[in-house]
């Protein structure tokens, strides 16, 4: 059941009805949410529901042991180790066993050794990458005494399996969600308005923007990299940036919107990433919930801990981002993609350190950094790096990456398909929206933003009605899949 599909359009009112019409008690509301979440997951991946339930119950139980100070430290650490290992073990098995056996086979072959390793095709349970991080985050928070363990299995299971977030995030934190689930939620018009607004914006970005751009500009070129002309390749690359942003930021907004309609607040996952002027800034604006997770549970402890990585910032950045690439998918293209971003962050760290040192001895360096030319160059470099890395993100294998790069340089000719006027208009709207969406966040657009916030309800209604009409006319039919749900 896709968040933009018809089944969900029937499912959501039923859930909302049951949720808000039952007596306002946290336990009843959580029970409705848990039932709805089980039903939602069942509709996607019935064969893996037991794995989800088993892991959730195991983590709930072991977290009690981890938090129990009456028990010896060794027992508590063992409980934590078992729980984390079980989560990572499931992730490793389902997501990476095929990749690892393939890699081993290739390694043996390269060394001229006989190998009996055969590629294993294991189906990835839906949402595994997301709920594994959610649960590990919870266990570590309990271990470090950042939060108290949940005393209610219903509450904990509702948090882990919460249906808007389970297949593609945002990756929520227990410290943020559990307190919300502990108290009964109240139907609040402001939150309803925010939820509906986020849901409509998410639908626009996923159901219209991403789904228009993909078949018009992206898929025909990536299907045969290098065949079309340079312009088609550049458009496909720009289009893919719009597609992947529309798809994932759209999904996050849909999830945030549904949660708000249920009186819950999910973390923001995207914050106008195309305004970023450095790679660290970019990763603070793109897939925020994953990057904060990586920062809080991997990078931070590694760099500030007592291990070998202590103080080795650049190396840790490369390592963490290589893992981030691997998290996105068990493919070498993702690993290289992650390494490239880790490298970019490491280089930026070095540059920043060097530049700050210059600033301390000569204030002109500070002025230079505030200059528009510096800002423009930084912005161009950041966006070009991200855009270039998307070739790896989208390509099936490293060979396709090479062909696509040659295509960018004009090896092929023409466009793969002729575009009619309607397609051209919609592609222009898609690109235009991304630009306006980002520009509106700039301080210079403050007046426009406040004007928007003060718009009379009637005008606002007409605007929303117009958006829905546009979606009815132009949003393509039958493309309900989300890129990030595959990770």
């Amino acid at each position: 059941m896709s968040l933009t599909g018809v089944a969900f359009a029937l499912f959501l009112p039923l859930v909302l009805g049951a949720y808000w019409l039952l007596p306002r008690r946290a336990v009843l509301q959580n029970a409705v949410l848990l039932l709805a979440s089980l039903g939602f997951y069942l509709s996607w991946s019935p064969e893996w529901l037991l794995l989800l339930i088993f892991g959730t119950v195991l983590d709930f139980g072991l977290a009690q042991v981890v938090a129990d100070e009456r028990r010896p430290t060794g027992v508590r650490r063992l409980a934590l180790g078992v729980a984390v290992a079980a989560n990572l073990g499931a992730l490793l098995w389902f997501k990476y066993v095929g990749f690892l056996t393939d890699a081993m086979h290739a390694l043996f072959a390269a060394a001229g050794l006989p190998s009996s390793a055969t590629a294993m095709a294991v189906v990835l349970p839906l949402g595994l990458s997301y709920y594994t991080l959610i649960r590990i985050g919870y266990l570590l928070d309990v271990h470090h005494r950042r939060i108290a363990p949940s005393r209610s299995l219903l509450e904990f299971a509702t948090f882990v399996m919460f249906f808007p977030q389970i297949i593609a995030g945002p990756i929520t934190r227990a410290g943020r969600m559990l307190p919300q689930l502990r108290d009964a939620r109240r139907l609040d018009p402001t939150r309803v308005a925010q939820g509906a607004n986020a849901f409509l914006l998410g639908w626009w970005m996923k159901g219209y923007l991403a789904d228009w751009i993909a078949p018009a500009l992206v898929e025909p070129v990536f299907a045969d990299p290098g065949a079309a002309g340079a312009a088609a390749h550049w458009l496909a690359l720009g289009g893919y940036a719009v597609q992947v942003f529309g798809d994932f930021a759209g999904y996050s907004l849909l999830a945030i919107g549904v949660a708000a309609l249920l009186g819950l607040e999910l973390p923001v996952n995207f914050d106008r990433p195309f305004l970023s002027r450095s790679m660290p800034e970019f990763w603070r604006r793109w897939h925020i919930s994953l990057n904060t997770w990586l920062f809080d549970y991997l990078y931070g402890p590694w760099v500030t801990g007592t291990g070998w990585l202590r103080g080795r910032i650049a190396l840790t950045l490369v390592l963490v981002f290589a893992l981030s690439g691997l998290w996105h998918g068990a493919r070498w293209t993702f690993v290289v993609w992650g390494l490239l971003h880790g490298l970019a962050l490491a280089v930026h760290h070095g540059w920043d350190t060097w530049y700050r040192a210059r600033c301390r001895v000569d204030r002109r360096w500070v002025t230079a950094r505030k200059h528009a030319a510096y800002a423009l160059a930084a912005w161009l470099l950041t966006q070009a790096w991200f855009l270039g890395s998307l070739i790896l993100f989208r390509a099936e294998d490293l060979g396709s990456v090479g062909r696509f790069l040659r295509g960018l340089l004009g090896q092929g000719t023409g466009f793969p398909a002729e575009m009619d006027a309607i397609t051209l208009v919609n592609c222009a709207v898609a690109f235009g929206f991304i630009v306006v969406h980002h520009l509106l966040a700039l301080p210079a657009a403050e007046r426009v933003r406040s004007l928007g916030a003060r718009t009379p309800a009637a005008l606002r209604g007409i605007f929303y009605g117009g958006v829905i009409v546009w979606l009815l006319v132009f949003a393509p039919l039958g493309r309900g899949t989300f890129i990030y749900a595959q990770f």
Binding site: A7, A9, Q194, G452, A453, Y464, G465, I468
Partner: protein, 349 residues
């Protein structure tokens, strides 16, 4: 790094009230309704006969002829009007159009939708519907080619809720069975021109036609592009016709209908003349006709091949180059009942 405390993607606004929210919703709905009225005026949605309409008629009626085929089967709804008028209601055709169907889809509809009703008996064990004597299977070369993926229109246009629930219980919610929900959703909003236009682009075509009507040259160029595409498709058909599952479905339908004492006829549906090249006329079309004759001829089934012999011109076909327009259907009905389908008015078998 830490979680931002302000939800940046949700533009911060002052707290709202239920009244303000109600006004917003009211105006949004008003805008939608107004836009829908405009869309209705520009491109009114046409009601097309579907399997569901045929089932409703069958449940309350007693037809003498069953005509089943793809969307082309809708022609027989027009022939039904003519035959009723000519026979003073003695002959009644039940036209069952399975949109975007193939022979396997017609067989599914026959097995799962039509037969349970046709085989109903009264308290004495006698068939409830005793008038049915003839069956016409409407087909063309495309119906015998493999589709390559499940026919999404089968769940959409032919399933009932029972079929949907059974499929969900067996396979879970899938993209395939979701077609049923999608179609039901669309039918639920049958009064909305905007919803009915989803995926059709009739509205955009109408708007473009009003704003900037296509010149004669542009129309001619489009005609040439379309005919070239169709010609190639029909020519290429020679390499895919006669797939075993589709031909088996035809075989099963003929046997099933004959086992119920029906006289079966297979009609090879007329094609738009411009879409048929000489090569197609020498390969795909005669080869498919021969396949059908070889399959059903020995069972005593007559094959009426109107692919190129119907008195239709290019103007009798719609903008999709596939379906016959209302006036063309009326002309075809008159001609058919005077000619190859005259037997429908004659003494029953």
């Amino acid at each position: 790094m830490s979680h931002p405390s302000t939800p940046i993607d949700r533009v911060p606004r002052p707290a709202t009230t239920w009244r303000r929210l109600a006004v917003t919703v009211l105006f949004a709905v008003g805008t939608l309704v107004a836009a829908d009225r405009v869309a209705w005026w520009l491109a009114p949605p046409a009601h097309l006969r579907e399997v569901e309409d045929a089932m409703r008629e069958l449940e309350t009626g007693d037809p003498t002829v069953l005509a089943i085929g793809s969307s082309h089967g809708r022609t027989f709804a027009v022939i039904d009007d003519s035959i009723r008028a000519r026979s003073a209601g003695r002959e009644r055709i039940l036209a069952v159009p399975v949109e975007w169907g193939k022979l396997t889809a017609y067989a599914w509809v026959l097995r799962h939708r039509l037969l349970p009703v046709l085989d109903e008996t009264d308290a004495d064990g006698r068939p409830r519907r005793r008038s049915l004597r003839r069956a016409i299977i409407i087909t063309e070369w495309w119906d015998s080619c493999p589709y390559g993926s499940p026919l999404r229109n089968l769940p959409a246009r032919s399933w009932t809720w029972q079929h949907y629930i059974a499929d969900v219980r067996q396979h879970g919610l899938t993209a395939y069975n979701n077609n049923f929900l999608g179609y039901r959703w669309s039918r639920f909003w049958h009064g909305s021109a905007l919803v009915q236009d989803r995926g059709q682009r009739r509205l955009l075509t109408a708007v473009r036609q009003r704003l900037a009507p296509a010149s004669a040259e542009a129309q001619q160029a489009n005609f040439e592009v379309q005919t070239a595409m169709w010609r190639k498709m029909v020519e290429d058909g020679a390499s895919c016709i006669g797939s075993a599952p589709e031909m088996d479905a035809l075989d099963w339908m003929v046997d099933t209908l004959q086992a119920r004492g029906l006289e079966v006829t297979v009609l090879l549906y007329p094609r738009m003349p411009a879409t048929l090249s000489e090569r197609a006329k020498a390969t795909t079309l005669p080869q498919f006709a021969e396949l059908v004759r070889a399959a059903v001829g020995p069972k005593g089934v007559s094959v009426i091949d109107l692919t190129t012999s119907a008195p239709l011109t290019d103007a009798d076909f719609g903008a999709d180059f596939d379906h016959i327009v209302r006036a063309g259907n009326a002309r075809l009905a008159g001609w058919a009942l005077d000619g190859p389908f005259r037997f429908l008015l004659e003494s029953r078998p």
